[in-house]
């Protein structure tokens, strides 16, 4: 947007040069370029998916083949023994459930609390809303890593270490989520609320049956980001839990790397990794359009 004027000026300077018309040579290079793009993309895609393929194949491959040299990428036989090794070391089902509950509850509460706050900031004209919004934007810059020590002390003083409350409540609402929703809510036409208010709807009715149904893309985007971010988070659950029966999976698996004597049990780690990524990969493949549009949405605000 901003730069169209300056770039069109530059194009104008280009135009003053002698114009050339594309001949057969140009067409040849265009065809060449078009075919050059595909190998480039194939390299990108292959390198990108290589670690994921290694996890999937390694998880079903006998440990002896995982540890062989030269490496065999595709195992000679498929086995589930790595999963037996995994369940012997880590309560993987329980920790998957912990991850689901942790990420799910954070997401649900963020959906409720953030959208309520975003509604007030976007649609109610009250005194002080600009002040509150400005303070929130300043807070948004604060990285949570910088607050780990005092948050841990607070959670510990409340007796919430190793509990769902300790994992979830400090994250029950967040400024980035409020900001994303608020930016979306202000774009909805005002006439929608006015019409409902004429019909006697109160604030909560307008919020629930007018604003929320019209903000589904933003709500879904926020929910996906929160779910994925918390499911995958390592540092937070590592600090807030020490008991392996309440630990989410990501933090539980991280301890596998330290538990091995000598050579790390790679096959077992691949099996654990597979368990950790399958739910999100499936979710991603189902709603990937929403994911990708959501990322574009977060990029727009700059």
């Amino acid at each position: 947007m901003t730069s169209t004027t300056s770039s069109s000026a530059r194009v104008a300077t280009l135009a003053s040069r002698t114009p050339r018309r594309g001949g057969s040579a140009v067409r040849a290079t265009r065809v060449l370029r078009q075919f050059g793009v595909v190998p480039g993309l194939l390299v990108f895609a292959a390198l990108t998916s290589l670690p994921v393929l290694v996890v999937v194949l390694g998880a079903f491959s006998p440990e002896s083949e995982v540890l062989s040299w030269p490496p065999n990428f595709i195992p000679s036989r498929f086995t589930l023994e790595n999963f037996d090794g995994l369940t012997a070391r880590v309560p993987v089902l329980l920790q998957s459930w912990n991850s689901l509950v942790f990420a799910g509850v954070v997401t649900a509460s963020a959906l409720v609390l953030n959208s309520l706050a975003a509604y007030a900031l976007a649609r109610i004209e009250f005194r002080g809303r600009i002040a509150i919004f400005t303070v929130l934007i300043a807070i948004m810059m604060v990285p949570f890593q910088a607050l780990l020590v005092p948050i841990y002390q607070m959670v510990s003083a409340l007796g919430w270490v190793n509990t769902l409350a300790g994992l979830v409540i400090p994250r029950a609402a967040d400024v980035a989520g409020i900001f994303l929703l608020r930016q979306f809510f202000i774009t909805l036409p005002r006439d929608l609320d006015s019409a409902a208010r004429i019909d006697g709807a109160g604030e909560l009715r307008v919020f629930w049956s007018i604003v929320l149904p019209n903000a589904k893309p933003a709500l879904l985007t926020m929910a996906l980001f929160h779910f994925v971010g918390n499911w995958n988070d390592l540092l937070w659950p590592l600090i807030m839990t020490s008991d392996s029966s309440v630990r989410p999976l990501t933090a539980g698996l991280a301890l596998l790397t330290g538990s091995a004597t000598g050579v790390a049990p790679y096959g077992v780690m691949m099996a654990g990794s597979l368990v950790a990524i399958v739910p999100l990969v499936v979710l991603y493949l189902i709603v990937q359009r929403r994911f990708i549009e959501g990322v574009a949405m977060t990029g727009m605000k700059g």
Partner: protein, 322 residues
């Protein structure tokens, strides 16, 4: 959509004093305003309570802690600026700060270059299987850094990994990158780049879509080649995307932790220790919570500074537009 049913004649006044048909008296205005403030407060309180309790108060507590020798046990005593003096005089801590900056200096430009490269390839309408490629390239975004670290650690293992094996086939001998003080930091950076370049690609794709086609057509008409089109049309067209992305990438780089915790534990010889890794080890392994809080405030200051730069550039851009 539904607004058509209301019709313009029945529209409620947007703001008080907006010249509605019946004049409000001042008491009514005041009571209505109070009502709105009350309702807004009710909507805001749950979220604000969480944010005050778990962001604002901890920020103040961290500042207080940073002036003490708190260990997490027993009484802490006030030691003034000692922790901050140690942060900037202890060679190991300075090294962690320098490592973080080196990490950011590698991560920022590379993740942007690779993301932009992928976006340029995928933005061409004539490319077959665009959807497929986009799906694959964005996939690492949903893979946890912990899993990515395990997978890359395996792929790069000099005794087991495919990458040393393939490079060996090309006649390149690769040692253990994670045992090398030179290569360990670039290696943990590379994992982060792998994980997030798809994210930047998507943001760039959105930016590229905003560049009007006629600019390219005009440039082609003038005989501009691919490189010249990129310099004269694409890059200027992406300027606003670029400022967002650069600051975003650098702020993210200053929070590096996961892959270091899993792949190198800060080693070898502290070569991959970063600020957040030190906050974790000082605060939660060595129980130097006062010192970790001082380091936290250094991180906070760097992040706020970067955020301010972004805000500055952003507002300047808006002014340029007017």
């Amino acid at each position: 959509m539904t607004s058509t049913t209301a019709g313009p004649t029945y529209r409620a006044p947007r703001r008080l004093g907006g010249g509605g048909p019946r004049p409000d008296n001042s008491r009514q205005i005041a009571s209505r305003e109070r009502g709105r403030t009350l309702r807004a407060t009710a909507f805001l309180i749950p979220a604000l309570a969480v944010i005050v309790a778990f962001v604002l108060i901890p920020a103040i507590l961290a500042l207080r802690l940073s002036f003490t020798d708190a260990s997490g046990f027993g009484e802490a005593s006030w030691i003034g600026l000692d922790n901050y003096v140690s942060v900037f005089s202890d060679p190991a801590t300075v090294r962690a700060i320098v490592n973080t900056m080196l990490y950011a200096a590698m991560y920022g430009p590379l993740v942007i270059a690779v993301g932009l490269g992928a976006a340029l390839l995928l933005n061409r309408k004539d490319v077959p299987l665009r959807g497929f490629f986009r799906t694959i390239i964005f996939l690492p975004f949903v893979i946890s850094m912990a899993v990515a670290s395990l997978a890359w650690g395996f792929l790069l293992d000099p005794n087991l990994g495919l990458i040393p094996y393939w490079l060996g086939g090309l006649g390149i001998r690769m040692g253990d990158v994670f045992a090398s003080t030179t290569w360990a930091l670039p290696a943990v950076t590379a994992v982060a780049i792998w994980k997030s370049f798809g994210y930047f690609m998507v943001i760039f794709l959105a930016g590229l879509q905003g560049i009007p086609r006629y600019l390219y057509e005009a440039a082609i008409l003038d005989g501009a080649g691919a490189w010249r089109q990129f310099r004269a049309v694409t890059l200027p067209g992406l300027r606003s995307t670029m400022t967002f992305v650069i600051v975003f990438a650098i702020i993210g780089a200053f929070q590096a932790f996961d892959q270091i915790y899993i792949m190198t534990q800060g080693g070898p010889d502290r070569a991959t220790e970063t600020i957040v890794y030190r906050i974790y080890t000082d605060g939660f392994r060595d129980f130097r919570m006062g010192f970790a809080s001082a380091l936290s405030y250094v991180l906070l200051a760097i992040t706020l500074l970067l955020g301010l730069i972004q805000l500055r550039v952003g507002t300047k851009r808006e002014k340029d537009l007017e």
